[in-house]
């Protein structure tokens, strides 16, 4: 008896870079490879295309965000050409907004942390948009040299129609904390992509924090060698009518690499929509890796929608472990009951529960200066709904 030949499976166990999967478009600088989406594509089907303010049409524009930063000694920020950015080894664009951003930005900003420099304080860059009329293309490269140690915070405020690609090139053995905060006005649109290249034995902790605006953020991770570690954290708070979409793609392309994804979000108000897509691919070469993904959504009111898709594609059995978890639900009534039984009023108890839900992510971000502020922002968001008195802010 023979077993029939099977082209479908032989193609699935190939060893080349390409993996049979409907989840990942082939990265390319060529705009022709990233046609205008119809909304039926796997990577676009959760996004409200009509509300993107025409960004995807790709008009040229000279508008810029206002940059503000204080650079520590040794760190430089300068403009380079798009070709130079390519030469540094940035990852190719994986979707239309990032391809457009590279094509239209007319060069990139390079934030350069030289090798072996250890920074005590975070580099905080604020990017401010003045009006949603402005169409802004952004192309950034953050390079951290071998064995350096740095924290970079990109904070987005104001309003704009902003499409940007940011590459984080992490040298061997470097330790990097990267934070991107989207605290836009309600009428802003932000289509972002953070592409992270993790050097051999390097570790990176990336946090995406989204409160305001329409946000669609792709975070991608690849490894330049064995032993790299990536921790991807996220925190989002979607209000009425707001769309917050976080997409992750961790490509375990090297052995003994690790990734850990932990995203938490809350939703409140009619039409609040949170989307979380967590793709993890474990290639055949990636033996001995470990990965875990978690997404937790707290739905605070009626009329919200939370989509949560932790996709896992595994091509080798020689791994330490792989798993994911996703939960969506309301308050834990038991926690609420416990607090109330201790004499805490219901409103206050609810706020405490939400506070506790976010506090552990906020503490993990690794930039102490941000902690307090983020907790206060969460409180402010909560008051819009739960409406307890602001004087009883809980301290961490």
């Amino acid at each position: 008896m023979t077993v029939t030949e099977a082209p479908n499976v032989s193609s699935a166990i190939e060893t080349s870079d390409k993996v049979a999967s409907h989840l990942h478009p082939t990265p390319s600088y060529d705009l022709a490879d990233h046609p205008v989406p119809t909304g039926r594509e796997e990577i676009w089907r959760f996004t409200p295309l009509k509300r993107l303010g025409g960004i995807l049409e790709g008009e040229a524009s000279d508008a810029r965000l206002t940059w503000k930063t204080e650079l520590p000694e040794g760190v430089t920020l300068r403009e380079i050409s798009a070709e130079e950015a390519r030469g540094l080894g940035e990852m190719k664009p994986a979707d239309r907004p990032s391809a457009l951003a590279v094509a239209n930005a007319g060069g990139a900003m390079l934030l350069d942390v030289p090798a072996e420099l250890e920074l005590a304080e975070p580099i905080v860059v604020t990017l401010h948009g003045s009006t949603p009329e402005d169409l802004v293309w952004g192309h950034l490269v953050v390079r951290v040299g071998n064995h350096a140690k740095a924290a970079v915070v990109l904070e987005h405020t104001g309003a704009a129609r902003y499409a940007a690609t940011t590459s984080f090139l992490i040298g061997d053995g470097a330790q990097v904390t990267a934070v991107t905060i989207q605290d836009w006005d309600d009428d802003a649109v932000h289509l972002g992509r953070d592409a992270i290249r993790v050097g051999r034995d390097a570790s990176v902790r990336h946090s995406a924090i989204s409160f305001g605006g329409l946000v669609r953020l792709n975070t991608e991770v690849v490894y330049d060698g064995p032993g790299g570690e990536a921790e991807l954290l996220g925190l989002y708070f979607a209000d009425a009518g707001q769309h917050l979409e976080h997409r992750l793609f961790v490509d375990h392309n090297a052995p003994k690499t690790r990734s850990n994804v932990d995203y938490k979000g809350a939703l409140q108000g009619q039409g609040a929509h949170a989307v979380w897509i967590g793709d993890v691919l474990i290639r055949k070469a990636a033996e001995g890796i470990e990965t875990y993904e978690s997404n937790r959504n707290l739905v605070l009111t009626d009329g919200c929608r939370a989509d949560s898709v932790p996709n896992l594609e595994i091509e080798t059995g020689e791994i330490e472990g792989a798993g994911h978890a996703s939960t969506t639900g309301r308050f834990d009534d038991q926690q609420l009951f416990y607090l109330q039984s201790r004499g805490i009023a219901e409103d206050e108890a609810r706020r405490l529960v939400v506070h506790g839900f976010f506090a552990d992510i906020i503490r993990k971000i690794g930039v102490p200066a941000l902690e307090e502020r983020l907790l206060a922002t969460v409180e402010a968001e909560l008051e819009k709904n739960v409406g307890a008195n602001p004087s009883s802010v809980v301290t961490a």
Binding site: A6, R305, L312, T316, A322, H324, S326, T327, G329
Partner: protein, 472 residues
Amino acid sequence: MTTIDQRNPELEGIGRYEFGWADADTAGATAKRGLSEDVVRDISSRKDEPQWMLDLRMKGLKLFGRKPMPTWGAELGGIDFDNIKYFVRSTEKQATSWEDLPEDIKNTYDRLGIPEAEKQRLVAGVAAQYESEVVYHKIREDLEEQGVLFLDTDTALKEHPEIFQEYFGTVIPVGDNKFAALNTAVWSGGSFIYVPKGVHVDIPLQAYFRINTENMGQFERTLIIVDEDAYVHYVEGCTAPIYSSDSLHSAVVEIIVKKGGRCRYTTIQNWSNNVYNLVTKRATCEAGATMEWVDGNIGSKVTMKYPAVYLMGEHAKGETLSIAFAGEGQHQDAGAKMVHAAPNTSSSIISKSVARGGGRTSYRGLIQVNEGAEHSQSIVKCDALLVDQISRSDTYPYVDVREDDVSMAHEATVSKVSDDQLFYLMSRGMEEDEAMAMIVRGFVEPIAKELPMEYALELNRLIELQMEGAVG
């Protein structure tokens, strides 16, 4: 590092599939290939169907042509719709005793052990479908007296047109997906079950599907109606011979469970490795009703099957237990879908899969909680076991929650057979493949124990066959 299979090439193909024989095939040899309006008209007129059914078939054909092939799942490029035989009549009339069947068909079922099971009263009714039509049908007399209907779908259309027209196509509309449209156009055979109010069918009803002709397309259509507070357990099994070119099995199963009713549907799909198995299965549950899918996918080249439960009434409950094995050349793309459309509904999905020898298993599922379905609960657990380094396992769990007062949890793990476990068992004197099979059996045990006894035994045996040659 060499893989286990590479080290032991002689183990390849040993005792892998034992239902692979083929009977002489006179009916199939003369059957027409390809799909056209004439083929559809011909099927309908041979069955002497009412006009509304022909119209529906035509609509299905049109929608089939219009809908694109799904690209998000398994590789389906190997299906040649023009080469498939859409209707093969193997015998002129349905038999009422096994002896009346043509010799070779009877032998086939003897070898599969079906008449034996019936004799021993392990089942309450049997339907055997060979090619496009049901060739044997029997139900226990006492059930018949209580008004239980267990017929093949073609006969049901003739004898009970009123019930039929009321429910047919209501759970899965003609244009639901490309393959449901194809099934609507060319359906033939399948089971029709009606369980009246309050009747408990305590022993399973069983159907057995066999494809014999090469390049055959089997398109059975099953419709099950469980009336208020009634219960039925339906079991189906599937096999086919091994040919070098592919066959297609594309069934549609519609189930309606009324208030307080309960239906359990067990499938052990063991098609040969040249069958594309693309099946649409869906149930609707009224208030307090329960639907349970027990879905075993062991055979076939490609399976795409996501049994669904639409929880339409309060306190309705849906459950899916899914188990998949993918060996060399196989892709099992299975999963489940639960739609919570009413308050206080609950669902659970438990999926276990094992991939070996370069096979690929995918779990693909959707949990949707609609607005208004408050206090709904859902839990999804997927575990995958990879036995070697060349196999692949994917998990694509979609969750869409539109209501605040719900609890939804999803968890997945993927693991390899741990060296510790193997070492322990071998230190107790077990051979490696024996130890491996035991670990795999332990892994699927929570699902195996939900199967009827003889199927659980069958499953265990299949695991052993699958695992044979997996280790050296």
